[in-house]
Amino acid sequence: MGFFDDKQDWLAEVFSMYPPEGRRSAVMPMLRKVQEHEGYISPERQQEIARILGTTATEVAGVMSFYSYFQALPAGKNHIQVCATLSCALAGSDELWDELVQSLGITRGEVTPDSLFSIQKVECLGSCHTAPVIQVNDEPYVECVTKVRLRALLEGLRAGKKLSEISLPGKSGHVVHERGDEASI
């Protein structure tokens, strides 16, 4: 059975966002949908997307490989993306990465034997003031990641909790300062 067979309503809604000549615009939403459900986008799925859009699988693969979010190989249930860009690097993201490599026993492109984790370095996530920052799957960011917070995060994820259910000790980020005299994070 095709992935999109039972998602015709969803597809119709996506196509309705674009003009008739713009059907191809659905390629990114479709790739995203597959990845959300299956964790990666297999050659079969790429073929299916190409068929629905009236293009070739090579074209779909070409688009897919352009973006860092789309995965061609299975990722862990929790795909942890670590920001490696300047402000995060200044807050120690290299050490954070090394810690992940060590405690999970995997590096880039690998998945833990229990399929729970994979890791990837990504570029500036647009939260430089709460560095270092990580993102798990497509969830809102985990900010101001200290050693203590990272440990609590991994423990929570190992216990099968959702990100939103895990309480992280210490400062939590998402602070926008309105006045100079406001308390720090």
Partner: protein
Amino acid sequence: MSEGPIVSGKDPRFVRTLYAQVGKPSSWTLDAYLASGGYQAIKKALQMAPDAVIDEVKKSGLRGRGGAGFPTGLKWSFMPKNTGRQHYIVCNADESEPGSFKDRYLMEDDPHQLIEGMAIAGYAIAATKGYIYIRGEYRRAYDRLMAAIKEAYEKGYLGKNLFGSNFHFDLYVHRGAGAYICGEETALMNSLEGLRANPRLKPPFPAQAGLWGMPSTINNVESLCSAVHIIQRGADWFASMGTEKSKGHKLYQVSGPFKRTGVFELPMGTTFRELLYDWAGGPTEEIQAIIPGGSSCPPLPWNDETLDTSMDYESLAAKGSLLGTGGVIGIPASVSMVDAMRNITRFYGHESCGKCTPCREGVSGWMVDLFEKITTGQGEKGDVEVLENLLNQIEGRSFCALADAACWPVRGSLKHFRDQYVDLVEQKKAVNRTQRWS
């Protein structure tokens, strides 16, 4: 402080508008937006002729907040009239320039403000359809925008006959998937059309042939939100803030070792000293340089001259740097400037789309390799000159501005911190990386 233009956030005449709701409980809901006076500007705009809306924005002096500072009203006026074709207004919400994070909170905490700005721009340029191209990682912003758009449709604030006028406006959100180049306006259009996001040749400019070949205008999130308040409060209000050529207020961002990092809405022309000491609380460790406006802007040394520089387009250009997105990054004295530049070069190298040779080979290949070589203690005499020569070969010769953006910070660092490069090369020293994570 009550005469002349407003150039300080401490001036009692200064009022915050863009971020006035950010951080407040439930600020992203329609109820909260209406309670704070939302959707009045679009009503006002719809009573005006489209050209009058454009003129008001022109008169305000608003310049694009996406980084390049192109006058917004002028850009809108480039759109052809009475074409009978579909026009598009596109919001650039790709926000990927390292050091920038202002647009995210605008969308997370005040999505209706952006919706209203899109509708106003759409009305001005006869675009009945709008797209917000939001970077894929911005999950919370996406969720809140989608919820806000739904609310707006339910109330009739989007869709057919807005506020009893004969203007129709539909708004869609398209998510990116992790590629910095999608922020370049023509690459963004390709990405939205479902293609690889390589930039397009200009001309034709988007106003002639943009999205699906139709007349299109692309604006940054903050530019569109600013338009709401310009219509609401008038061009004169906006122009009462800032310097001669840099009007209005702006969202400045602070990251790096400062006491209170975050986003600060301040008048154009505020000094770095005011931003970094009075608002951000001062450095938490010794700083050697700041990158004034996002990673593509040449760094400036941390000294009185820099701190007393006014944060506007002209003053920064006069210092050999750029205002960019207003994202200030502090670089601590304990970190090698060369290593900081290695990180930025690596970023641009990774994000090069590969379309043109100077960038693909020059930035992703040569520059990245050279920084790796120098920072790992394998530098040789003459490497600094090789790097300079590379910059000369790449800058101004690439297909789009990404490669320039990669060169500018390195050039700035060579101007002010050349000794650090020479030191590494001559001593064959690897950079010293201190523990920075706790």
